[in-house]
């Protein structure tokens, strides 16, 4: 299945990537598995996405936990804790 990935703020800057469309290999069905898959890219990807303490995830614009199951067409966003207001 294909998902849309978004990266914001410090995560976006570390990755040098704001958005991408990705066809997931079979077996990648959760947020956690997706993260591990992305970290295989190495370098900044391994480093930025390993910060599990501060990494936040949203699926279709709702906050989500790493255990959450993905569906085709999902919009999955990665970002640091929010600091607006």
């Amino acid at each position: 299945m294909r998902v849309r990935l978004l990266y914001f703020a410090s995560i976006r800057e570390q990755l040098g990537c704001a958005a991408e469309s990705l066809e997931l290999p079979a077996g990648i069905t959760t947020v956690g598995a997706l993260l591990e898959h992305l970290m295989l890219r190495g370098g900044a990807w391994r480093e930025a996405l390993a910060q599990t303490r501060v990494l936040r995830v949203a699926i279709n614009q709702d906050m989500a936990e790493p255990g959450r199951t993905l569906s085709g067409g999902d919009e999955v966003a990665f970002f640091p804790p929010v600091t607006g207001g």
């Binding site: 978004l6 914001f8 703020a9 410090s10 501060v54 949203a58 614009q61 709702d62 906050m63 966003a77 970002f79 640091p80 804790p81 929010v82 600091t83 607006g84 207001g85």
Partner: protein, 159 residues
Amino acid sequence: MAVRIQREDFDAGAEMARLRAGRADVGAIASFVGVVRDTNAGSRVGAMTLEHYPGMTEKSIQSIIEEAASRWRIFDAVVIHRIGELLPRDQIVLVAVSGSHRGEAFAACEFIMDYLKTRAPFWKKEQTPEGARWVDARVSDDAAAARWDAPAAGTGSGA
């Protein structure tokens, strides 16, 4: 209930006036304006850039307002949050809430602000003499939001 994410400045007085326009049951309007300070965490701040997650921002603020409206009897609320480049003294955010009585308007306004700080997808990047840096999330903001979970929190005066 209005949520606006915009680059332009806003007129807090006009927004508060709009909350009571055309209705005579409004007795109380509580509001908050956040402003860019020229120092933060010990460094002089020359400018800041506010990034957000279009779509999710509006959605999350809308649901924070709805949560406030389910906890307190309020009539209406408006939240305006600026994005893009801002300078010290610039307004960043407005939260204004109308109701019959002040206790509930105050509680709802502060609740929306505390939740916005911890749940709405905005990120600040500051320009300082030491270079640009992303602002770190504050433990005190998490604590401010968490106190609304306590059973007795935010009862207000009902008056």
